[in-house]
């Protein structure tokens, strides 16, 4: 092992990697190990981990393969942010490190931990199966292999970016909904679902959409945009999620999805009063039966504490509602025009 001798040399310094350790066969709980190694400018986090594994501690475990940002194996959290170790420069991370000279490396969130930096990807794969994340061709089997199945360039551009996904699970790790509910479909699966749904060669559109509008599906997203911010391929994941929602409302109407009804109820309240009529919102979103079954105990508590929202007749219109209505009308018109131009 080479020990750094010239610390003054530009572009080379000692960096401490604080690595998350957990071996389920030995450890009762996770801990961190510090490794201080000389790092040159231009070295990635993955190269540093490889160096540590080969020269200092062979037992640290992480997944990695291509080392070039193509395969998506080395997703991990570097200083708290989910990214690929192989495309993350040590120098860039150091510039933003909270503790100078220290880089914290942890496994991805929202997936079961196997060991050290390795997480179990199976839950994600299972969801991809559940939401039919593949193209089921409309071409009759007898024609397959005999002629090409072409699409227009215009159509291709609609899902070009979505096909860049390498399933590194960085978005899965950053997703705030998944953190609250592991059953949630997850951003990567929504992106793939969108990519398949807008493909004109695919025949599963209705089936896939029917699955997506159920519980834990596309309507559970809260628009926090963290998936899009953390995407290592800079894919606009939120565009895909919005795309699925618009598609769902358009081709299935308002009836079967509580999410779309929720959005519709919001819109009508805002248009009428300039604010929400909270008392009836659950009924309009999920129906009377659901509300009675799920929210009655809470409603009773609210009555006891005198915290019930006012009934609809008592909700006064917000100040400046007249000006607001004019603005609202104008915005609605803009959106409508926008949709028309998109359709072309």
């Amino acid at each position: 092992m080479t020990v750094p001798t010239d610390q003054h040399k530009e572009g080379k310094k000692d960096v401490t990697f604080r690595v998350f350790r957990f071996n389920p066969q030995v450890d009762s709980k996770p801990y961190f190990d510090d490794y201080t190694i000389p790092v040159e400018r231009g070295i990635t986090v993955l190269r540093s981990l490889n160096y540590i594994k080969e020269h200092i501690d062979g037992s640290i475990s992480f997944r990695a393969f291509c080392q070039a940002g193509i395969c998506g194996s080395c997703g991990m959290r570097v200083n708290g942010l989910s990214q690929l170790a192989c495309t993350t420069q040590v120098w860039d991370v150091l510039a933003k490190s909270r503790e100078p000279g220290i880089i914290k490396v942890e496994p991805l969130r929202n997936l079961p931990l196997i060991k050290d930096l390795i997480v179990d990807m199976d839950p994600l794969i299972d969801k991809m199966k559940n939401y039919s994340n593949w193209v089921d061709s409309t071409m009759p089997e007898i024609q397959m292999g005999k002629k090409e199945f072409l699409i227009s360039e215009e159509e291709f551009l609609r899902y070009d970016k979505a096909t860049d996904c390498i399933l590194c699970a960085s978005c899965v790790s950053e997703c705030s909904i998944l953190r609250a509910n592991r059953e949630y479909v997850s951003p990567a699966v929504l992106l793939k679902s969108y990519r398949m749904n807008v493909d004109s060669r695919d025949s599963l559109h209705e089936q896939r959409l029917a699955e997506l509008v159920k519980d834990h599906g596309v309507w559970d997203c809260t628009h926090c945009y963290r998936c899009q911010e953390s995407c290592v391929k800079s894919i606009p994941i939120m565009d895909a999620i919005h795309g699925i929602r618009e598609d769902a409302i358009e081709s299935r109407g308002m009836k079967d999805t509580s999410g779309s009804k929720h959005a519709e109820a919001f819109m009508s309240d805002i248009e009428k009063k300039g604010k929400l009529v909270e008392a009836t919102l659950p009924i309009r979103t999920n129906g009377v039966v659901w509300t009675l079954q799920n929210l009655l105990p809470m409603a009773m508590k609210m009555i006891m504490k005198r915290r019930t929202p006012p009934p609809p007749p008592l909700v006064k219109s917000a100040k400046g509602i007249k000006i607001f209505r004019v603005m609202f009308k104008e915005m609605t018109e803009h959106v409508r025009q926008d949709h028309k131009s998109h359709k072309k």
Partner: protein, 139 residues
């Protein structure tokens, strides 16, 4: 068991294997370099016997995987070097500086390498022709 407790590290062995293959068993080859490569590989194989596995768990043991891969790499390197040394001609990317011309009379055949008790035995197999015929490479 080694009384001194001396052991070898996977990382160092793999790095040295890469070095000697790049320097001596690369695209431009010649007998003396190949000989050196063969000796280096033999030495590394000897040192490999003392390699240590640091990860002793049986959950996702990437350390053990690396070491097993290195073992195969060493075997493969040995057969590649032996085959390259035996083939006294240049063909495709196998460029023997000491035999720069393709020699179809003696070498238009596959080399079959077998490892028997750590030593390479070289055999051969005729090439099935049909689609393309032999002709001089002029580009």
């Amino acid at each position: 068991m080694h009384a001194s407790g001396h052991y070898e590290r996977y990382g160092e062995l793999r790095e040295e294997l890469g070095q000697t293959l790049a320097l001596n068993v690369g695209i431009f080859r010649e007998s003396s370099l190949l000989q050196k490569g063969i000796e280096d590989i033999a030495e590394l194989k000897e040192r490999f016997k003392k390699v240590r596995i640091f990860d002793t768990s049986d959950v996702f043991n990437t350390n053990l995987m690396q070491v097993l891969e290195l073992k195969n790499m060493l075997d493969l390197a040995q057969t590649v070097a032996a085959g390259a040394n035996a083939r006294q001609e240049s063909r495709g990317s196998h460029t023997r500086v000491d035999f720069p011309v393709r020699d179809d009379a003696n070498w238009h055949k596959h080399t079959l390498a077998t490892l028997v008790e750590g030593n390479v035995t070289l055999g051969e197999k005729p090439v099935t022709m049909g689609r393309y015929e032999l002709q001089e490479r002029t580009y």
